[in-house]
């Protein structure tokens, strides 16, 4: 690590008279493997290090990044970036940060089985083992990745934080082909931790049961019933709805319009804190301190201590996601939602692990009193508008519910609904939580950041099914 260069950057900027400066130094080592239709397409490894520095000059935010880590190069980039920012400040926004405690901390996620100690062939063998039992007529695409990120953060208010975070991820894309028909599924897995986590994913069994389910839909699937029915959604669907229609619109930088050009704005406004947005049983949080989670961190990229944020409490909007800039604007404290995907990206307000808190129902109880309905276990196609008001989730594995029982498979049921209608229709929530991994995109240049989203099964009443 080149900590001295981060310290140097902050000191140089202070000499130039900036009101705020912070530096993030990152070192990443990783490896990746792609298996396509049982063939090892390509493998690789990567090592990178870089420095990202943010500062406020004349009230305007400046940022620069460099991986050519030498003092003279950094010095000249500081000058260039400072001059650009000063020049831009004539039409610049006047940025203020909320006051936060300075922090000195060091933390590391330990790996039980270190990914760097495994030979590439062991990882490939692992992928080939999964592939072995799948019908070779089906398209299969697997991608496995692991990395370790070491970060050193410093700001001119006295914060200094070191972290080491190992991460493993797996992604599959599967096409089942039968009777001239096809069905597809993809699913990402992601955790912080070592190879021990990959073993726990139980990929082979999950994969085989997924294939069976898709084959069953192609062979026996029926069209979804039309009109108003009850719907039970599985944790994957609860999770995506949580992320898209609650997490995103509660990001304060969207609400305030900073990200309007690309990521969009929000149907939620600042006055809506305390407004009813869903049924009373809905409680929904964003929690970065979940051990082993994909969105794990203890301090955000502005050096603020992470905590659980309660976004919806008893069906009412409770709290937004903040960084120091939006917190200052609304006269509150930051709740540590500021993250950057890499050293060369500015930190933005991001979700971490966003999920619905468990309810009182056993999963089987959710189906009991439904005469006719649809169980959408998971999904393929989804999207939501840029204010996060109207969304579509199309079921992948889905079933009819008839007289309280899950019966025939259903082909592509569509839940196309507004956010208030979705969350108001929830009348029962399961006890058991599951998470899905994802990479959440925001900002320009685009940043994909690791997150989890999830929750329990939920029952939705009186949904218009398409």
């Amino acid at each position: 690590m080149y900590e001295d260069l981060a310290d140097f950057s902050v000191k140089q900027l202070e000499k130039l008279g900036v009101s705020y400066a912070e530096a993030r130094l990152e070192e990443i080592k990783g490896s990746g493997y792609i298996l396509k239709n049982g063939n090892v397409d390509i493998s690789g490894f990567d090592k990178s290090a870089g420095l990202g520095v943010r500062f406020i000059a004349n009230g305007t935010m400046g940022f620069f990044s460099i991986n050519d880590l030498k003092k003279d190069k950094i010095s000249s980039l500081i000058k260039r970036s400072f001059n650009l920012t000063k020049n831009a400040s004539r039409i610049g926004d006047k940025v203020k940060f909320s006051e936060e405690k300075s922090v000195n901390a060091k933390y590391e996620i330990k790996q039980k089985i270190k990914v760097e100690n495994l030979n590439p062939d062991e990882k490939i063998k692992f992928l080939l083992e999964i592939d072995k039992e799948i019908n070779k007529k089906y398209f299969r695409y697997f991608a496995l990745h692991d990395d370790i990120t070491k970060t050193y953060y410093i700001n001119n208010e006295g914060s200094k934080i070191n972290s080491t975070i190992p991460r493993v991820s797996f992604y599959y894309f599967l096409t089942v082909l039968m009777n001239n028909k096809s069905m597809q599924r993809y699913l990402p897995y992601g955790n912080t931790g070592g190879w021990e986590v990959v073993k726990k994913w139980n990929l082979k069994d999950n994969f085989l049961s997924e294939i069976k389910a898709l084959e069953n839909i192609i062979k026996n699937g029926v069209k979804p019933p039309k009109g108003k029915i009850d719907v039970v959604i599985g944790p994957e669907v609860t999770g995506i709805a949580t992320h898209e229609s609650v997490g995103h619109p509660y990001e304060a930088d969207r609400i305030l319009g900073r990200e309007a050009a690309q990521a969009g704005e929000s149907f939620v406004n600042l006055k809506m804190i305390g407004d009813k947005i869903g049924s009373e049983i809905v409680n929904l949080v964003d929690d970065p301190v979940l051990e082993g989670s994909n969105g794990f961190y203890l301090y955000d990229d502005e050096g603020v201590k992470a905590r659980r944020k309660i976004l919806i409490k008893n069906g009412k909007i409770n709290e937004f996601l903040h960084n120091r800039e939006t917190a200052a604007e609304l006269n509150v404290k930051s709740n540590a939602a500021s993250r950057a995907s890499d050293y060369n990206k500015e930190p933005l307000i991001r979700m971490s692990n966003t999920f619905v808190l468990p309810g009182d129902y056993k999963d089987e109880e959710l189906f009991k009193d439904i005469k006719l309905g649809v169980y959408i276990k998971n999904f393929m196609e989804w999207n939501i508008d840029d204010k996060r008001f109207q969304q579509k989730y199309t079921g992948a594995e889905a079933y009819l519910i008839e007289n309280g029982n899950v019966t025939k498979p259903v082909i592509n049921p569509v839940l196309e609904i507004t956010t208030p209608a979705l969350w108001s229709s929830v009348d029962a929530i399961g006890k058991k939580i599951e998470f899905s991994a994802g990479s959440c995109g925001k900002g320009e240049p685009m940043q994909g950041i690791p997150v989890w989203f999830g929750g329990p099964h939920m029952r939705l009443r009186n949904i218009i099914m398409k």
Partner: protein
């Protein structure tokens, strides 16, 4: 330069069959604005050395971005020293010895080649350009018809060196400019327009700003849209996003992975349009003298008068399918370069009833193989009656199929735009396009 050759020589000595070494050095800056004010500036220096190696059909890539110590050099990563290079070589060989062979791997291109200069791909005026002043002109043009604007202006320059074990040595340098502006008349009325160019003289900042403002003004007081089948005029921005999905599906990698609706469609009629991938396009934002294995850039007619003529290939995939490379390496996967759409020209607004969609986002598939997808119109959405805009609309979704869309391309407009966007990472040259009989859905309200 010496160091790249050193790595090449050492890897050869250690038994590598095919080697490609690519060195990139780029510098750039960005200015991001919100509510007409600068909210962030960004400046970047990135140096990168990538190595591709095949040994006994074992295919390995690595990228070195950790450069420590060493001498100043002009093009090569400034401080990658010999010790780091030796470590990289040792690791690469060890890694290759521990992976399985790729049965489908068939080698890289055999040089040498002659490379043509690409017109309007480098403009030194960009390096010292005052991007803040230029951005302000775009904002002011948008504010003629709107109240607030958000977006970004970017500039960059890049030097690129590529050497391979198969007699290829190639160099290129490039510059680029990108502007994206979204204008708001009120909370529900917005318009978006982008521009990209490799030279300053073709960079359309003011006209993009003005267009975004005009769309925003027309979009005020939107009414709920209705579901059904419509003839839809897709403006330049949504066409860029849709064409990205279409050309991505033309890569043989996507076809093999089950991710393409072009599977089994070679030499079949898909509609009435022509789709071109052109890595040598004048002022093309992604144009380069050569692809990632050093093959000279070329123009490929992927769909000719509606007939799918080729997938996008590199040398290895082309050999597998007994065809020629299309100069689209990508060594992991063949990639599109610059996308061009052509079709029957006419007045796209000459329809009785339909929709005019000026932007889309969030294009997602239910099934890549069949092409079933949906995407969400954003910014101005308009009802067209008897060739005129009569209403501003909101809350609709295009829920259709890519093969249907292509089949139903009817007419294209006269004016082409050169665009890239958040939703269209591959640059596109496209007119506005009239597509008949498009399925529109909407949510339960």
């Amino acid at each position: 330069m010496e160091l790249a050759y050193y790595i090449l020589k050492e890897l050869k000595k250690k038994g590598a069959d095919d080697i490609i070494i690519a060195v990139n050095k780029s510098e750039g800056s960005q200015v991001k604005f919100s509510d007409n004010k600068v909210v962030k500036t960004g400046s970047e220096i990135l140096v990168n050395l990538e190595i591709f190696m095949a040994k006994d059909k074992k295919v390995v890539v690595t990228s070195l971005k950790d450069f420590n110590k060493g001498e100043e050099r002009a093009l090569i990563p400034t401080n990658l020293d010999k010790k780091n290079a030796d470590d990289a070589i040792k690791n690469l060989i060890r890694f290759a010895n521990n992976v399985n062979p790729n049965k489908d791997y068939n080698g890289i291109a055999e040089g040498p080649f002659r490379y043509k200069e690409i017109k309007d791909s480098y403009d030194k005026k960009i390096i010292d350009l005052n991007e803040v002043d230029l951005m302000e002109k775009g904002i002011n043009a948008a504010l003629e018809n709107s109240n607030r604007t958000n977006g970004i202006i970017e500039k960059w320059f890049n030097e690129h060196l590529l050497i391979t074990s198969n007699n290829i040595e190639a160099e290129d340098k490039s510059t680029g400019l990108y502007f994206s502006i979204r204008a708001f008349k009120d909370k529900e009325a917005s318009g978006h327009m982008n521009s990209c160019s490799r030279v300053l003289s073709k960079f359309e900042v003011e006209s993009s700003g003005r267009k975004a403002g005009e769309i925003a003004k027309m979009a005020i007081k939107p009414e709920e849209g209705k579901s059904g089948k419509y003839d839809v005029i897709f403006s330049h921005m949504p066409m860029a996003a849709l064409l990205n999905n279409i050309m991505d599906a033309a890569s043989i990698f996507e076809v093999e992975a089950g991710l393409s609706f072009f599977a089994d469609k070679l030499n079949k009629k898909l509609g009435n349009f022509t789709l071109i991938d052109d890595g040598s396009l004048e002022n093309g934002f992604n144009s380069s003298k050569f692809d990632d294995e050093g093959v000279p850039a070329q123009r490929n007619i992927v769909v000719n008068n509606g007939i799918l003529k080729t997938y996008l290939h590199n040398t290895s995939t082309a050999k597998k399918y007994r065809t020629k490379t299309t100069a689209n390496a990508g060594l992991v996967a063949p990639n599109p370069t610059n996308i061009i759409l052509e079709g029957k020209k006419g007045d796209v607004f000459d329809i009785k009833k339909g929709l005019y969609i000026t932007n889309v986002w969030y294009t997602r598939y239910q099934n890549h193989l069949t092409g079933d997808f949906s995407t969400i119109p954003r910014d101005g959405i308009f009802l067209i009656e008897n060739g005129e805009i009569t209403k501003s609309l909101k809350n609709i979704r295009v829920s259709d199929n890519f093969l249907n869309l292509m089949k139903n391309i009817s007419l294209v407009g006269k004016e082409n735009k050169h665009l890239k966007s958040w939703e269209a990472e591959i640059p596109v040259v496209t007119p506005e396009v009239l597509i008949k009989n498009v399925n529109i859905s909407k949510p339960k309200l």
